[in-house]
């Protein structure tokens, strides 16, 4: 399901790097979109693990909220310190293209993770296919509605965390495309929140007031998932309603457990951080890398949430990297 094998093969192809890494403390800078989100903390955790394995110093950078201008300044000052490599998740596709190309041109390899940038001047791009994730959400929702009502029919809606973000837009597009396969599911609404849990909660309650016969909702990130899950749990609708949300943070996992969330579409942020640093280090030593690596999405429901394969993806503290490092 997760395409770890491609990653595993490329990561284990650099055993020699370990020997050279032990001599000098090189730095790899990891720049995320927003430090206030648990998702990006998981990226940092993965990067730290890679730093330990490779004996590298990991510089963890990012602005508190998605802010392209701030991220460009952070990228420029990080590049100025000449790290071995830079791992970055661009906040805005168009805005980060030229700054990334400039860093590459100055000789520092750049590994792009999670979201793309408008340039081809990078060493590798590790990402979730967000559209695939959105389609998986539509499928999970249809399956849930079918389980509960007998057929995949009724009104559904989706909740967007923020307007104009490439990865969120792709998830929403994937969700809408995915719904096309279920002609009896009609999309009746979309609201945009301020990427804030309480607002996601209010909007969910209001959408349920507008369409009291709403049967499903897609929440396109962790903040929206937590907010929508709280609204569903407050109304005790868990066993009737089909809420599918992206990512997994503690709030979402609690709601998956209490039945308010039917399914979580999860990515592998730990691996993006971990492999991002490995790739950056490899690129700094002249290793040729695959241009594009899909780190995969998976769908977790209450039925399979205790599957050991998902343990480390639902809770980063349980993450083990045995397939990669033999630990």
């Amino acid at each position: 399901m997760f395409r770890k094998f491609a990653l595993a093969a490329s990561v284990t192809a650099f055993p020699l790097l370990l020997a050279t890494a032990a001599q000098a403390q090189d730095t790899v800078s990891v720049i995320v979109k927003a430090t206030t989100s648990e998702y990006w903390q998981w990226v940092f955790k993965g990067a730290e693990q890679a730093g330990k394995d490779l004996n590298l110093t990991i510089e963890e950078l990012g602005s508190p909220k998605d802010d392209a201008a701030a991220q460009i300044s952070i990228l420029e000052s990080a590049a100025g310190k000449k790290p071995a490599a830079i791992v970055i998740s661009p906040t805005i596709y168009e805005a980060l293209g030229d700054p990334i190309a400039a860093v590459t041109a100055a000789g520092t390899p750049v590994i792009v993770i999670d979201s793309g940038a408008k340039t081809d001047q990078y060493a590798a791009f590790l990402t979730t296919n967000n559209e695939t994730g959105g389609r998986a959400a539509a499928d999970a929702m249809a399956q849930c509605i079918k389980e509960r009502t007998g057929k995949a029919a009724g009104k559904v809606a989706f909740l967007t965390a923020m307007a104009g973000h490439e990865s969120l837009d792709s998830r929403d597009k994937g969700f809408k495309d995915g719904l096309a396969a279920y002609p009896e599911l009609t999309l009746v609404g979309n609201r945009v929140a301020n990427n804030e849990e309480a607002e996601g909660m209010s909007l969910t309650a209001d959408m349920l007031t507008k369409d009291s016969d709403l049967v499903g909702l897609f929440a396109d990130n962790a903040q929206m998932g937590t907010g929508a899950g709280t609204a569903i749990s407050e109304k005790s609708l868990g066993d009737k309603f089909c809420l599918v949300a992206f990512d997994s943070d503690k709030g979402e996992v609690e709601h998956l457990n209490d039945g308010s969330i039917y399914a979580l579409v999860i990515q592998d942020p730990f691996m993006m951080g971990y492999a991002g640093v490995w790739y950056g280090y490899a690129a700094a030593h002249g290793v040729r890398l695959p241009r594009l690596v899909d780190t995969g999405v998976g769908v977790v429901t209450k039925a399979n949430m205790n599957d050991p394969a998902f343990a480390g993806l639902l809770d980063v503290t349980k993450r083990s990297l045995s397939p990669f490092t033999g630990k």
């Binding site: 206030t36 648990e38 609201r191 309650a205 209001d206 937590t226 943070d249 503690k250």
Partner: protein, 320 residues
């Protein structure tokens, strides 16, 4: 004399008239156009939705009355929310955790007042710094992660109600009544308006200016802390990203409610009406399926319109 009487009426209109009128008109429109608007469920939803932003706005009102401002309230709510969640998840009793968190909030208010009143740093700058500092602290004490695993009792408060009125809304009512009484019927409360209207004159009258400043900022941070605790109760987890941009919502509610950013003017009733107006707008936008981007534009235009009308009245007051 004849045509002076409607003018006199306008002169004597309380500051919150426009916001109350707008809210009533909006309610009437929605009652007609949105079939689910006037249902018990929707009204109880709106009561819950307005409570937290209303409590924060009442706090910000106190600072605006003394011609100050508090931009840190959203971050303080997030920091104190994460703090109470961390204390609870480490096994502290609910009352003890709440008392400790409120103490932290009061300390934040006292620090703001010290910086403004004793060090003479403009309130805008002090609390702008606070906006960053407390968001950063929220991230630090949570490690950037959502804090969960809270005792079930904490969720029950936000979900509960008394005589069909949500507990959250009852909390807002209690805060509103207490602060209204304080501002309107106590001498110290009246001094807040005096300080905001003319700080130099207030000082010369021998009124303890620093004590008034301290009260305003402690009330504001204390109420933001209370709001943060209620937010945790409502969400049943604490996330360092919660409370984002609440300071702007609060200032909008205060200003639309008839307060002046130059101080000396503003009421609790107007502020609560302002908060209700914004909650009604966002509720109505969903019920009528207004495009979310248009909703933002409309909300912005509404702020401009209400404040413009309000200023017209103020000009009349100052003698045309």
């Amino acid at each position: 004399m004849k045509d002076a009487s409607p003018r006199t009426l306008l002169h004597n209109l309380p500051v919150e008239s426009y916001v109350v009128a707008f809210t009533v008109v909006l309610w009437l429109i929605l009652a007609v156009t949105a079939p689910n608007f006037l249902t018990g469920d929707n009204i109880s939803n709106m009561m819950r939705q307005v409570s937290i932003s209303g409590i924060i706005a009442i706090g910000v009102l106190c600072t605006i009355i003394i011609a100050g401002i508090d931009l840190s309230v959203g971050s303080v709510a997030a920091f104190c929310g994460v703090l109470v969640a961390q204390l609870l998840s480490h096994g502290l009793d609910v009352p003890l955790a709440i008392v400790l968190t409120l103490a932290a909030g009061i300390l934040i208010g006292a620090l703001n007042a010290l910086s403004v009143g004793k060090l003479g740093i403009p309130a805008f700058i002090v609390t702008l710094a606070g906006l960053q500092v407390y968001r950063g602290l929220a991230l630090l004490i949570s490690g950037g992660m959502t804090v969960g695993g809270l005792p079930p009792g904490i969720k029950e408060f936000a979900r509960g109600s008394l005589f069909h009125i949500p507990n959250l809304f009852l909390t807002l009512l209690a805060v509103a009544i207490i602060v209204h009484y304080f501002l309107s019927f106590t001498r110290t409360g009246r001094y807040l308006y005096a300080l905001g209207s003319n700080s130099e004159a207030t000082r010369r009258l021998g009124i303890p200016v620093f004590r008034i400043t301290l009260i305003a900022y402690v009330l504001c941070s204390g109420l933001a802390t209370l709001a943060g605790i209620l937010l945790v109760s409502r969400l049943s987890v604490a996330s360092p990203s919660m409370g984002n941009a609440y300071e702007l919502q609060a200032i909008a509610a205060v200003v639309v409610g008839g307060a002046s950013l130059f101080g000396g003017r503003g009421t609790v009733l107007g502020t609560v009406a302002g908060a209700i107006l914004f909650t009604t707008m966002s509720n109505g936008a969903v019920l009528l399926d207004v495009d979310p981007f248009w909703e933002m534009v409309l909300e912005g235009l509404l702020i401009a319109l209400v404040v413009y009308l309000d200023n017209l009245q103020k000009k009349r007051l100052s003698g045309v």
